[in-house]
Amino acid sequence: MELLAVKEIVKHFNGVKALKGISFSLKEGEILGIIGPNGAGKTTLINIISGIYKPTSGEVFYRGERVTGYPPHAMAKMGIARTFQHIQIFPEITVLENVMAGYHTRSSSGIVSCLLHLPSVMKEERAAAAKAVDLLDLMGLKAKANWPAFALPYGEQKKVVIARALAGDPKVLMLDEPAGGLNEAETEEMGDLLERLRGLGITLILIEHDISLVMDVCHRILVLHHGYKIALGTPQQVQQDPQVIDAYLGGA
């Protein structure tokens, strides 16, 4: 079943054309890589899907429903989660609390219940903590659950924000350069983690500069260049596409 689809997305910033008619669709359980040189419009595209930007024209569909221009929190509630290139971890609180923050969409206590710390809040807190511990276990970070987040090395912080995004049980997870800024060993670990996520059947959109990582884990790859879609296909197809080769070796 088609889970997510974007149709003819165009985005202008003060006259600068960042995206020029991008379309693709995503099936459940699929892993789609988005690659392209810097400034190709990759992050802009997922910013539009997650509702941070409104597209100049074009539509976003989720489970067949038109969701163009929905605010980010609504998209998150419907099951579209993401991480950020500039990580956006909450440095002053613990690793566990960071991941628990991702449980927001699955809990519902309002401010009054929270002030009074009603039994319903306690129940949700326990469920959130249990979920967070599970995810940290998956990340291999269970032992550091009570560390303040700033004390973790960068590679581990990147895993924490992935765990945070997973805490809400999203239907689609969008990762913006999970291996960006990581050293070789950390990148390898990230690759293993992505393989594990693939094994769990999570639907993923993956923006990444590390081409070999993308080729390894993705079912299909979308190649952007100067805001245009220049290729969309399996890793093999994309690798042999003359336009892609040109963009990466020639003109870029």
Partner: protein
């Protein structure tokens, strides 16, 4: 034109010019440190008080008195950067802004100690004889104020848009680390901006002390009005400071004249809030994207 209306507009323009001048002081510090300097109003009081002492205690003639007063307040501004803001262990905006509030309390305490609580005044620069203009009577001193504001505005506009130093200062505000890598002396720039703000504040004080007698705590309300003007126009923009100042002055004067003098400040602040609700970054402000 209705004679009263003309009068309101002229007096509003004069008040507005004062607010604009104070707003320009706020603007300078924003363009180096990205903070609100709440001591700006007290720079104004200091300028007026120094002028008073230069003339009556040191018996200087008017021009050297002006120059020395401006230099003195500029020095105090520089000292505030060097001995307070620069020493701050935390560079969080809110901490730095509250240090300027502390400085403002400190300066006011100092003024009260040195010049006392009694109001100070000076004679008009060029006579008290009002001029008739379009049916309104205006004091020559008002023209001094308006002229002074225009001069400072033009100088600052030139400074920020056409000089290397001015552009370097803005670069410091935008990204101090990158500016330092480009070879800009960040700390010197910040000190310069506080000195400039002090100088501009002093000019404002010198121009208005003949109109409004000066008391030690005068800077509080005038500082707030200048801040409001800067926000109204679009914080940090020199043109915005002038537009915001004039608008606020006219609002007050027309509000007082046509609606109620008791509630002129309320009217001005309500309009300010309404403008902000419609344009969250002031009249000239542009919406910024949060980078993610």
């Amino acid at each position: 034109m209705n004679q009263n209306l003309a009068q309101f507009i002229f007096s509003g323009t004069t008040t507005g010019a004062i607010y604009a001048l104070i707003a320009l002081g706020f603007c300078i510090v924003e363009n180096s440190m990205k903070i609100v300097n709440f001591a700006q109003g007290d720079f104004l009081t200091l300028g007026g008080m120094f002028m008073f002492s230069m003339l009556y205690a040191l018996h200087l003639s008017i021009l050297p008195a002006i120059v020395l007063s401006v230099l003195a307040v500029a020095l105090i501004g520089a000292a505030m950067e060097r001995f307070a803001l620069r020493l701050a262990k935390s560079k969080e905006t809110v901490v730095l802004v509250f240090i300027t509030i502390g400085a403002s309390i400190f300066i006011r305490g100092g003024i009260k100690l040195i010049w006392g609580k009694s109001p100070k005044s000076l004679p008009y620069f060029s006579g008290a004889h009002p001029i008739d203009l379009l049916g309104a009577r205006i004091l020559p001193q008002s023209l001094w104020v308006i002229g002074g504001t225009i001069a400072v505005f033009l100088a600052l506009h030139h400074f920020f848009h056409h000089t290397k130093q001015g552009k370097a200062m803005k670069a410091v505000a935008y990204d101090p680390k990158a500016a330092a890598l480009m070879g800009i002396n960040v700390e010197a720039m910040m000190m310069l901006s506080l000195a400039l703000a002090g100088g501009v504040g002093a000019v404002a004080g010198i121009l208005i002390i003949p109109i409004t007698t000066m008391t030690f705590d005068m800077g509080v309300m005038l500082g707030l009005k200048g801040f409001a003007a800067a926000v109204l126009g679009g914080y940090g923009d020199v043109m915005g400071a002038v537009i915001g100042g004039l608008l606020l002055g006219l609002l007050e004067s027309l509000g007082a004249g046509l609606i109620s003098s008791t509630y002129k400040d309320v009217i001005a602040f309500v309009v300010l809030l309404l403008v902000l609700f419609l344009r969250p970054r002031g009249i000239l402000g542009k919406e910024e994207w949060e980078r993610v």
